[in-house]
C-alpha cells in the first residue's frame, strides 16, 4: 500500500434545517465552520490543510475560504463541473488526486448550501444550460426532468410504485433513528406515502429529496499522515467521476442520451471502473449510501452498481434487501437526502465514514467497505468506495 494513498480523516457538518431555516449566519460561514469541524475531528489544525475542493458550482469560493480559515498556504483549489450533486464524489476524487500525487498534503472537500439564501433547486431557473429547450415547455425542475427517466424505466421493467415507496420508507426509518435528520421525529407509513401529493408523475412528494439548508466537509490526507491522527483510518479505495455519451445535455436539457442507457443513472461504465480500481466486487460492499435525490434513480443505481440484474431492483428492494435490520445491503443509513438532509451528497459521504468508524445511528455490524455515489442521472456523475483499514 502506497504511503500516499488517500484516506478520510475528518468529517464536519452544520445543523441541518428545512429550506430557509438558517438565517442568522451566512452560507459561507456555516461552510467554513463545517470545514473547521472536520479539521478538528481529524485532530489537525487549519494550518495543516493546504487544499480545498468542491463541486456543483459551489458559491463558497476556495480562495476566500482559505482566507477565512487562515490557511498559510493553498496548494490545491478545484471544483467539479456540473449541476446538482453529480460531482460530489468527484470533489473527493480530486482531493485524492491532489494528495496521492503530492500536490497537496491535506485537502478539505466541502459543500455548503442554504437554499433560503440563494435559490431553491426545486424552482424554475433561467440559467440552466439548454434552458431554452426545457423552460418554454414547463420542464423546470429536477423532479419533473428526472421523472421522465423514471417513467421509461418503469415502462421497460417490472418496477412499481411500491418499489419506489420502499426507497422512501427505508430512508425515513433510518432518519427516525438519526437525531440530526430533518425528518428525525416524523415517521412515514406506506399509506402516507401513497397519499402524498404528486409532484411529477410517477414521483410523489416522498419520492423527492428534501430542500434544506446545511453544510458538510471532510478532510483527505495521505495514509502515512492518517496513521498519526486520532480517528480510525478510512481509506478511499477508489473514487471516480465522469459520464457517458450525450449525458452532458442529458435529463436537465434535452433527453438525447443513447436509447441503450436512457433509463439509467449514467453510472454503468463508471461502476465497472470504480470496482476495478478498488479491487473489490459488489458482493464485498457492506453498506451503501446511494444518492437519493429521487427514489427511482436509487433503484436504477442498485442495478448499475451490480447488486442485482437489470430490471430486478424492484424485486431486490421488495425482499427487504436495503433495510438496516434485515437486508443484505443496507442503504442510506442516515436517512439520506430523502429524510436526513440534501447537502448535495456530502452528507452521504459523512454517513459512509460514520458507518466505517462504527458510529452510525443505524450501524451495520462490522461494516468495512462502503459504496457512496454522487448525483445520479446527470453528468458528471461520481462514486467512491471507502474501506476501513
Amino acid at each position: 500500500m502506497t504511503r500516499r494513498k488517500a484516506c478520510l480523516v475528518g468529517v464536519g457538518q452544520s445543523e441541518f434545517t428545512r429550506w430557509g431555516g438558517i438565517k442568522d449566519r451566512s452560507q459561507f460561514q456555516i461552510t467554513a465552520q463545517a470545514i473547521v469541524s472536520a479539521i478538528r475531528d481529524a485532530g489537525m489544525q487549519p494550518a495543516d490543510v493546504d487544499g480545498l475542493a468542491s463541486f456543483s458550482d459551489d458559491a463558497n469560493s476556495a480562495p476566500l475560504m482559505a482566507v477565512a480559515l487562515g490557511l498559510p498556504k493553498l496548494r490545491w483549489s478545484s471544483m467539479v463541473w456540473g449541476g446538482g450533486g453529480g460531482g460530489s464524489m468527484g470533489g473527493l476524487a480530486q482531493a485524492c488526486a491532489a494528495v496521492e500525487s503530492g500536490q497537496a498534503e491535506a485537502v478539505a472537500v466541502y459543500r455548503g448550501l442554504c437554499q433560503g439564501q440563494g435559490r431553491r433547486f426545486g424552482k424554475f431557473s433561467a440559467v440552466r444550460p439548454g434552458a431554452s429547450f426545457v423552460n418554454p415547455f414547463g420542464l423546470f425542475s429536477p423532479p419533473s426532468m428526472l421523472a421522465l427517466l423514471v417513467r421509461r424505466f418503469m415502462h421497460l421493467y417490472p418496477i412499481t410504485e411500491l418499489h419506489l415507496a420502499e426507497v422512501a420508507l427505508n430512508a425515513r426509518a433510518n432518519a427516525n433513528r438519526n437525531p440530526n435528520a430533518v425528518m428525525h421525529d416524523k415517521p412515514l407509513t406506506l399509506e402516507q406515502y401513497l397519499d402524498g401529493r404528486w409532484i411529477a408523475e410517477p414521483l410523489r412528494l416522498y419520492d423527492c429529496c428534501l430542500e434544506t439548508d446545511g453544510a458538510c466537509a471532510v478532510v483527505v490526507t495521505t495514509r502515512e499522515r492518517a496513521a498519526d491522527l486520532q480517528q480510525p483510518v478510512i481509506e478511499v479505495l477508489s473514487s471516480i467521476h465522469g459520464g457517458g455519451p450525450q449525458w452532458g445535455h442529458g435529463p436537465l436539457a434535452s433527453h438525447n442520451m443513447p436509447d441503450a442507457d436512457y433509463a439509467s443513472t449514467n453510472g454503468r461504465g463508471l461502476a465497472r471502473d470504480l470496482y476495478a480500481a478498488a479491487g473489490v466486487a459488489p458482493a464485498d460492499i457492506d453498506v451503501a449510501q446511494i444518492y437519493d435525490h429521487f427514489s427511482g434513480l436509487v433503484l436504477m443505481a442498485l442495478e448499475e452498481y451490480g447488486f442485482c440484474g437489470r430490471g430486478e431492483s424492484g424485486a431486490f428492494v421488495e425482499s427487504g434487501a436495503i433495510r438496516r435490520d434485515s437486508g443484505k445491503l443496507p442503504i442510506n443509513t442516515s436517512g439520506g437526502q430523502l429524510s436526513e438532509a440534501y447537502v448535495h451528497g456530502m452528507n452521504l459521504l459523512i454517513e459512509g465514514v460514520r458507518q466505517l468508524r462504527g458510529t452510525s445511528t443505524s450501524q451495520v455490524p462490522d461494516a468495512r467497505v462502503c459504496l457512496v455515489t454522487g448525483g445520479l442521472g446527470v453528468s458528471p456523475t461520481s462514486a467512491a468506495i471507502l474501506g476501513r483499514v
Binding site: 429547450f133 418554454p136 415547455f137 414547463g138 433527453h255 438525447n256
Partner: protein
Amino acid sequence: MSYFPDDMPRPEPTMDEAGFWEFCKDRSLRFQACTSCGTLRHPPLPMCPHCQSCGIDWKEAPPDAEVYSYTVVRHASHPAVTPRLPYVVAVVEFPALPGVRLITNITDIDPGAVRIGLPVKLWWDDIGEGMHVPRFRA
C-alpha cells in the same frame, strides 16, 4: 392565445442555438445534420460529435412523432404554469429521424391517456413577438 400564460419563460437561445429558433419563427421544426457525415444532433451544437465537422444542414422533421417518455406535472415550479396544471411534458422521437428527441408538451388529451408509444402530431403555438413553439397533440 398561447398554450401557457404570457409570463411563461420564453426561449432565450445562445449563439449556437439561434438557428433552431429562427426556423421555429417560420413554423418549421428542423434539426441540425452534419454536412459531412449526415449525423443528426439536438440540441444544436457548433460541431458534429461524430466527425467534428462544423458544417450544418437543417433537416426538417416530419409532423408525426411518438411519445418516448412523459411526465404529468402536478406541482408548479413557476407561477406561469399554475392555471395549466396538470400538464404533460413529453420526450418525443421521430421514427424517420433517428438520433434526435425533442422535449415538448402533449396537449388536447386527458393526461391519464398519455402512454409511451402514443402517436402525436406537431402543432405550432404562437407565443407572440414573432416566436412559435413546437407542441404536439394526440
